[in-house]
C-alpha cells in the first residue's frame, strides 16, 4: 500500500512492517530497499517542474510474501500516477529467480525466494504507444523498450543466466504494462466536457 502526501522536499521515508522485531539485520534490508526505491522513483519523476517542493512517498508493508521491493516499486509508481505527479514514463518491476536446474521463475513467494540459488529484481520502463514509426526510434541507437531502470541481484548467477532472466522479465513487464495502461485510467464517462 503506497500513499503520496504533501508537497515538501524530496525524501522517502519507509515505515517498518508491523511485525518488526527491531533486529539490526532487518533494519539494514529495509534501508537498502528504501535507497533503491528512492533512486528508482527519482529517475522517473520529472524533478524540474516543481522546484523547491518535497514529494514524500510512504510505503506501508501489510504482508510480505516474497518480491517485496518490486511490489513496493509498482505500488509507489501507481500512487505517483494517481496523485498527478509528472512522470517521464512508468516503472514496472518484476522479480526473476533462478532455480538450480536453470529454470527462471517469475514473482516467487517468500518460501520459493529463500530456496532459490539466486534472484534478481528488475525495474523496466513501460511499453509506450508512439506515433513515431519503428525505423526512426531504432536510428537513435537505444530504443526506449530496451532500457533498464534498476537491477538488484542476490545470490550467484552466470552472465548468461542474468541475460536470460532479463529477457523473461522484459516479456513479463510488457504484459504488466498493458495491465497498468488499462487500469490507470480515470473511469469517467466519456461525455463531452468543457475544455479544462
Amino acid at each position: 500500500m503506497g500513499r503520496r502526501r504533501g508537497r515538501r522536499r524530496t525524501r522517502t521515508r519507509r515505515r517498518l512492517p508491523s511485525r518488526s522485531s527491531g533486529s539490526p539485520k532487518q533494519g539494514r534490508l529495509e534501508k537498502e530497499y528504501e535507497m533503491v526505491l528512492k533512486r528508482t522513483l527519482q529517475s522517473i519523476c520529472i524533478l524540474t517542474i516543481h522546484p523547491n517542493t518535497t514529494t514524500s512517498v510512504i510505503v506501508q508493508v501489510v504482508h510480505d510474501d516474497g518480491a517485496l521491493l518490486p511490489c513496493a516499486i509498482n505500488a509507489s509508481c501507481a500512487a505517483l500516477v494517481d496523485a498527478g505527479i509528472p512522470l517521464k514514463h512508468l516503472a514496472v518491476a518484476i522479480c526473476c529467480c533462478l532455480a538450480d536446474s536453470g529454470l527462471v521463475m517469475l514473482d516467487p513467494t517468500k518460501l520459493e525466494e529463500e530456496k532459490m540459488k539466486a534472484f534478481v529484481y528488475l525495474v523496466l520502463p513501460n511499453s509506450i504507444l508512439s506515433v513515431l514509426p519503428e525505423e526512426s526510434s531504432s536510428v537513435k541507437g537505444e530504443q526506449m523498450e530496451q532500457g533498464l531502470i534498476t537491477s538488484v541481484t542476490h545470490g550467484v548467477m552466470s552472465v548468461d543466466d542474468y541475460l536470460h532472466c532479463l529477457e523473461r522479465g522484459r516479456a513479463a513487464t510488457s504484459k504488466m504494462s498493458d495491465f497498468l495502461r488499462r487500469n490507470l485510467q480515470p473511469q469517467l464517462s466519456s461525455d463531452s466536457s468543457k475544455a479544462g
Binding site: 490507470l184 485510467q185 464517462s189
Partner: protein, 236 residues
Amino acid sequence: MENKPSSFVDRPVVPGDVVLDLSKMSNQTIKIGGGLRQESDFITVMKAGKLRFSKPNKYWVESSQKRYMPCVEDTVLGIVVDTKAENFLVDIKGPALAFLPVLAFEGGTRRNIPKFEQGTLLYARVAKANPGTNPELSCTDASGKAAEFGPLKDGYSFECSTGLSRMLLSSPTCPVLEEFGKKLSFEIAAGLNGRVWVNAASPSTTIVVSNAIMKSESLSGVQQRIMVRKLLDRIQ
C-alpha cells in the same frame, strides 16, 4: 503541410506515450496544455488521462486528481480560514492559501467590507495564479458584477476529485443532475477545485443528491440514470 490531429486524440494515454512528432509538422504552431511536455522533437505525456484536442491547434491531457492546481479564470469553492487587513485567507485545496481582497466584491468600498467568519463557504473566481505565489481570488466577474459569486448559505458541501467536478459542470448537463432535476428541486455549486455544494428544501433531498453525485464518478451515462431512477423510486 499536414493538418491532421494526433491519432491518440480522445484515447487514454499513460506517462511516456509519444503523441506528436514535431519534425513532421513544420510551419504549424501547436499549443500544449496540461499533462504534456516537449522533448526535443516530440510531445510526450506526463500524466495519465485522456488526450484531448480542440481546433485549431490545442492539445492537452484531461486527468482527474484529488489535489487542485489553481488556474486563472477557474470558478472555485473556498473556505475562509482567516481575515487580514487587506485580504481574506481562503483555502481552495491548492498548494497555498488564496487571498481574496476585501474590496473584490460588487460595490465593495472600505465602508461595507463583508464580515466572513472562519469556515464560510465562498464561490469565487481565480483572478491570479502564478506557480510560486499565493493565488488571488475575486468575487466579481471580469466586468465587476456579482454574477452569483459570494458566500453560500445553508446546504451541504463535500469534496470530490477534479474530474468529477468537471463532469458536473459539463454541457450538456451530466446525466445524474438531469435525472434528479426531473423530479426534485435543488441547487448545486460545483467548484473546479474538487468541492461541491448542494442545497435543497429538505435534508433528505440534499442527502440523496450528494450521495448520488459521489457515487457517479465511475459510472457511465446510462448507469447513472439507472442509479438515480432507483433512488428516486425508493424515496417516493
